[in-house]
Symmetry: C2
């Protein structure tokens, strides 16, 4: 048995992008793709691509490239996306609703099977997904053996709701609030930081407009700056 490959977080995050592009290649009939071509398409380096694909355990053909279909299968297997896992969503805010309506998740191994909110009207559904009062969260989590939850409540409730999710047996939380969660270390969380993206955009745009560059000039390499 070969030693399991150790992944890095940045590499993991790139895998869905490979998958997306490989599916497009497959749809247009490509049977193999060399790493430099993949790299160009995803704006990466060909060595990065080769290292990432090594993780998947699909061998490339020297001088030719990687087999598209096997790679797709390999990435889906690696990510556990061959058959979707079920998740609950809490908080049917505007944003939560959008996630419920996003059919694209099925291609990413995720199936949101129920939503929860404070006081939903009896029998409510959003985009065909039933909405229950949060009081039923624990009961349904246990009965359906749900392990993943998406947190879309308002910031003020985030910690409290997350605590209750953990009590109910949830093991992984995708956190769309701005609140940093304080949970037991064994609970897996992933924080979405849209404001962080916006910060990067804002600062870089301001630099461009005012030309008060605080970025290190990439040109100067050997030179000494006094």
């Amino acid at each position: 048995m070969p030693a399991p490959k150790v992944y890095t977080i940045p590499a993991l995050k790139r895998l869905p992008a490979y998958l997306h592009h490989l599916r497009a290649l497959h749809a247009s009939g490509e049977r193999s793709v060399p790493s430099p071509a993949l790299a160009r398409a995803l704006r990466l380096d060909s060595m990065t691509v080769r290292k990432d694909l090594e993780l998947i355990g699909v061998a490339g053909l020297t001088g030719v490239g990687y087999p598209v279909e096997k790679l797709i299968d390999g990435i889906e297997t690696f990510l556990g996306w061959k058959n979707s896992s079920e998740a609950f969503l809490a908080g049917t805010s505007e944003f939560g609703k959008a996630l419920l309506g996003f059919r694209g998740f099925s291609a990413y191994g995720l199936k949101i099977i129920a939503a929860f909110d404070r006081n939903p009207p009896e029998g409510e559904t959003i985009h065909g997904i039933p909405v229950f009062p949060f009081s039923e969260f624990r009961h349904l989590t246990e009965r359906l053996k749900i392990r993943m939850a998406i947190l879309c409540v308002n910031d003020a409730d985030a910690q409290k709701v997350a605590d209750r999710m953990v009590e109910a047996g949830i093991l992984a939380i995708w956190n769309f609030t701005r609140q940093t969660l304080h949970l037991p270390p064994e609970i897996i969380t992933q924080q979405v930081n849209l404001a962080g993206d916006l910060a990067v955009l804002s600062v870089r745009l301001a630099e461009k407009l005012h030309n008060t560059t605080a970025v290190p000039e990439p040109e100067r390499k050997g030179e000494e700056i006094l």
Copy 2:
């Protein structure tokens, strides 16, 4: 004139989280906060906090901490969020709609003043924001001197629409599609990678459930693994 502080991207992305927590502290009457307290709240290291705040140029008081109000002001100024900048949004999909309805952006220096789609009904508005046909994008961008755009169209149209945004004079694009964009290097883009987050969650959850840990055990340090 002091040399401008050079920022790192990870530090930039953390600034909105500081801002969020500092505003909460301010609301509850706190006048100063030491870096270890901030670090605990945001699950960071106190040195990281001090380094990040150095960037802002607000000095802390040795033995006491940092002035809350000045920090808030300093971060908002640094990010250019004192007065919001205006942006356009293209693609009123489920997700685009959610962004249009998200009032929270105003706290982050962003104001979406119009949306665009292929063939919106005459006079349509979403959450009070007018929706125009995409044919008017260029004209309105030039007239209102818009520099930032949010890309929410479907993947197939992403590159084409982004090209037209650039032609219209857009300088920064916040890309919510899964498509990697190929644009002139001077155009600033920020790609939202929700599928990447999901990949991390999926793999870590699978490890937890099946205990086929491929993660390096953080405990073993000096030990040799055969």
